[in-house]
């Protein structure tokens, strides 16, 4: 089983920031997130997702109503970690596809091939109003556009061949321009000429995840490499469906260290809020075993409190899962794609 962990403020529990163990200022310096990611990495968690949206969090006085840009926070964490994948949420509805793909490619470069993103849309009027460029669109429409953005991003990551930089002193050429490609991408709402400004990312394609929390998102999730399924009740049906429709980009069944990959669609992870410092880990181990048996490829844990629950996940849950042969060794290096059993395109 793949294990992912979500970083969101002080944790998924809206009251987590009030705990005596939390220094709320550390939410804004990024230190709270950094500590949680380092703990998770040491325990062998495969990747973290960092929550974000274009608009600010809800204006509720007793909740964490501030949020750092997830991409900037992930980049701040990258040099201080070595093995864990970093997937910030990035919205595509009111942003520029060219910038989005360049940022994710840069995250992949600075992390040595551990970069990815959770592609999100902005369907709300609040998000549309902070940019003021387009009218808000329904979710179906924004997810349709998101699929074009994913496609354009991958084409732009491929717009530099891996060996485009030749540094040929004899001819004075830094690049072989035959290995740089215009993408001439056209969609109903945007076009991009290319090539990208950023050389090809170390992973070829950084890992794209989608949070399948609506029917429209689930539809688009067929284009992702990792699908985060938030409703365990639906999982059996959706896992089957995703596998039927998924392009399964870059999957190589069976080549993942410590994991048995049995299918070719996107990786499907059950996403759940957990509070093991209150509930213990035994019940959670049982649930995860059940999801594994139902065909899930992994679990995406949304800890109630980063300060209280991540240490329990790291010190108790992961060792138990490892004992049962459900997760691989903690010390695995290499790229995130390699860790997840995805081939490099």
């Amino acid at each position: 089983m793949i294990v992912g962990l979500e970083i969101d403020g002080a944790g998924a529990d809206p009251a987590a920031w009030r705990g005596a163990e939390v220094d709320p200022r550390a939410i804004l310096t990024g230190e709270l997130a950094l500590r949680a990611v380092q703990r998770a990495e040491a325990a062998g968690v495969d990747f973290v997702t960092l929550v974000d949206a274009l608009e600010a969090p809800d204006d509720v006085p007793d909740r964490v109503s501030v949020r750092l840009d997830a991409l900037g926070l992930a980049a701040r964490i990258a040099p201080l970690t070595e093995r864990i994948g970093l997937l910030p949420a990035i919205t595509v509805t009111h942003t520029e596809p060219f910038h989005v793909q360049a940022s994710v490619a840069t995250l992949d470069h600075i992390s040595g091939g551990r970069g990815g993103w959770v592609a999100e849309v902005s369907s709300s009027a609040a998000a549309a109003a902070v940019v003021g460029r387009r009218e808000p669109a329904p979710a179906a429409e924004t997810w349709r556009e998101a699929r074009y953005v994913l496609d354009a991003s991958r084409q732009l990551w491929d717009s530099w061949d891996d060996d485009a930089v030749i540094r040929d002193a004899s001819t004075g050429r830094y690049v072989d321009r035959e290995k740089l490609h215009y993408v001439d991408f056209e969609s109903p709402t945007f076009s991009v000429k290319g090539p990208s400004i950023v050389p090809r990312p170390p992973q070829g394609h950084p890992v794209t995840a989608i949070r399948a929390n609506t029917p429209d998102a689930l539809e688009a999730a067929a284009d992702a490499e990792v699908v985060l399924l938030p409703d365990p009740d639906l999982q059996a049906i959706t896992i089957t469906r995703l596998r039927a429709s998924g392009a399964g980009e870059g999957r190589a069944p069976g080549d993942c260290d410590g994991l048995a990959i049995r299918h070719s669609g996107p990786l499907v992870l059950v996403s759940v809020e957990v509070r093991p410092h209150v509930d213990g880990v035994d019940g959670l181990v049982g649930l995860i075993e059940g999801w594994a048996a139902a065909g899930a490829d992994g679990v995406h844990l949304r800890p109630g409190s980063l300060e209280l629950d991540v240490p329990v996940i790291a010190d108790q849950l992961l060792p138990l899962l490892r004992e049962r042969g459900l997760v691989g060794p903690a010390e695995r290096g290499g790229s995130l794609r390699g860790r997840l059993g995805l081939v490099r395109p």
């Binding site: 009251a15 920031w17 009030r18 005596a20 939390v22 709320p24 200022r25 804004l28 310096t29 990024g30 608009e55 600010a56 204006d59 006085p61 007793d62 964490v64 109503s65 501030v66 949020r67 750092l68 840009d69 991409l71 900037g72 926070l73 980049a75 701040r76 964490i77 990258a78 040099p79 009111h94 942003t95 060219f98 360049a102 940022s103 490619a105 840069t106 995250l107 470069h109 600075i110 609040a126 109003a129 902070v130 940019v131 003021g132 530099w160 002193a169 004075g172 050429r173 830094y174 690049v175 321009r177 740089l180 076009s191 991009v192 000429k193 090539p195 990208s196 400004i197 950023v198 050389p199």
Partner: protein
């Protein structure tokens, strides 16, 4: 008391200044290169580290320009990573105000300021051309005349968002369960280019407002800098040119109610240091020779002439034709507004010295600003600053990532001895390094 010098490190970019073919030249994309240059700059107690921006690969005669460095990382992501491996160095990102939205810029720059402990800077640049626009949703939609209107409005809104929380609105009272006051960060604005409203989700960052850098040189650009910038990244590195620019821009400040020390003028300069002045002169000539190959000389001449000059021999005489104004032979870099007098000057110099086209490019365009022994360079740098040709410099090294080693190891100690440059950082924020008000 002597004026204090300000220094910045420019990561070698996509101009022919960068000698990528040298055996010592390292990767232009590996994080390690950026980390090394940043660590060198921080060891030298520089004010900030500077990244330029590219939004489309350059083209010459319809093909991607392949003679210089091509490609680079996205600035804000890279600088957020550098924040993790440095402690005091300012982190300056060049980001285009035409192809980015103010809300997003405010959020990303505020994030960099929060996670770096107050070290973020934004070099506000503008572009308007359809060539760059082909990579973006809006395309090349902006009139050239409108670019500063949009840039100024964008900056005004970005600042409004940074100022959208009052100091007492972030409460953080855990016992009472009060994180922030309701309504904190609310904003609305309506201008010629933007109509936006909502809530800004970040309280004031350590600097309050990240530092604003401006690089425009036109009358409009200078006025923008005088009204809004904290630092000017200028192209006037010569003593006389620097003095004229300095006087011009500083004289524009009073009408905006600003004092002279509220705007630092930092020309981009190149430096060659060796044991003796003579050795430095030889080394500088060698570097210029590396920077301007025959094909590169032709491309640079094409940028000036606005014509296809591929029929010319770079080792022969200058082209006989007159330059074309407003040509698109070269795309994706700043051209010449008025090439005619520059061509005339090149011709005069070539004739006087018997220079070939390549020799003319080398001598007219690529002469380094400061060349000499450590003492010579330290004295020249200090002289420029004390005589108001600059407040400091943005150093553009020719080698990645070792290009500032000699300056930091050999020139910086001499500046410190003279009491004109810090030996250690007095504060933690970039505003503090630059002596700007918070």
């Amino acid at each position: 008391m002597s004026k204090q010098i300000h220094l910045a490190a420019h990561f070698p970019g996509v101009n022919n200044t960068t000698v990528w073919a040298d055996p010592q030249a390292g990767s232009q994309i590996a994080f390690e290169s950026f980390r090394q240059l940043a660590e060198t700059a921080e060891r030298g107690t520089f004010d900030f580290f500077f990244l330029a921006e590219g939004l489309r690969l350059r083209e010459v005669k319809g093909k991607i320009h392949d003679l210089d460095v091509v490609g680079r990382p996205e600035s804000l992501t890279l600088l957020s990573a550098l924040a993790a491996v440095t402690t005091h160095l300012g982190l300056a990102a060049t980001v285009n105000s035409t192809f980015n939205e103010p809300y997003e810029l405010a959020k990303r720059l505020s994030t960099l300021d929060h996670v770096s402990g107050g070290r973020a800077a934004w070099n506000v640049v503008t572009s308007w051309d359809a060539f760059t626009g082909e990579n973006f949703r809006r395309g090349g939609y902006l009139d050239k005349a409108d670019r500063y209107v949009r840039a100024q409005e964008s900056l005004r809104i970005v600042r409004k968002l940074w100022d959208s929380w009052t100091a007492d609105q972030l409460v953080l009272d855990q016992a009472a369960g009060a994180f922030a006051r309701e309504g904190a960060g609310a904003f609305a604005d309506e201008g010629a280019h933007f109509t936006i409203r909502g809530r800004f989700g970040l309280p004031p960052s350590p600097q309050g407002r990240p530092v604003i850098i401006q690089a425009g040189d036109s009358d409009q650009g200078r006025e923008f800098a005088a009204s809004d910038a904290d630092v000017i990244f200028s192209r006037h590195g010569t003593f006389e040119g620097g003095k004229a620019f300095y006087k011009d821009v500083k004289s524009r400040l009073p009408k905006y109610g600003r004092t002279e020390d509220s705007l630092k003028i930092m020309p981009a300069v190149t430096v060659v240091v060796a044991d003796t002045d003579d050795e430095a002169i030889d080394k500088a000539a060698y570097i210029r020779d590396q920077q301007v190959s025959g094909p590169t000389a032709l491309v640079l001449a094409e940028l000036l002439w606005g014509r296809d000059l591929s029929a010319y021999d770079p080792d022969g005489p200058l082209p006989a034709e007159d330059p074309v104004v407003g040509s698109s032979v070269t795309q994706g870099r700043v051209g010449y507004n008025d090439p005619v007098p520059i061509v005339a000057e090149w011709r005069a110099q070539a004739e006087a010295h018997g220079w070939s086209l390549r020799q003319t490019v080398i001598n007219q365009q690529n002469r380094q600003t400061f060349i000499g022994s450590p003492t010579t360079v330290a004295e020249a740098v200090n002289h420029h600053v004390q005589e108001d040709a600059a407040d400091g410099f943005v150093l553009v090294p020719h080698l990645t990532p070792s290009g500032l080693d000699e300056f930091v190891d050999r020139v910086v100690p001499l500046l410190r001895e003279r009491g004109v440059f810090r030996s250690e950082y007095a504060g933690t924020t970039l505003r503090s390094h630059l002596g700007l008000q918070a």
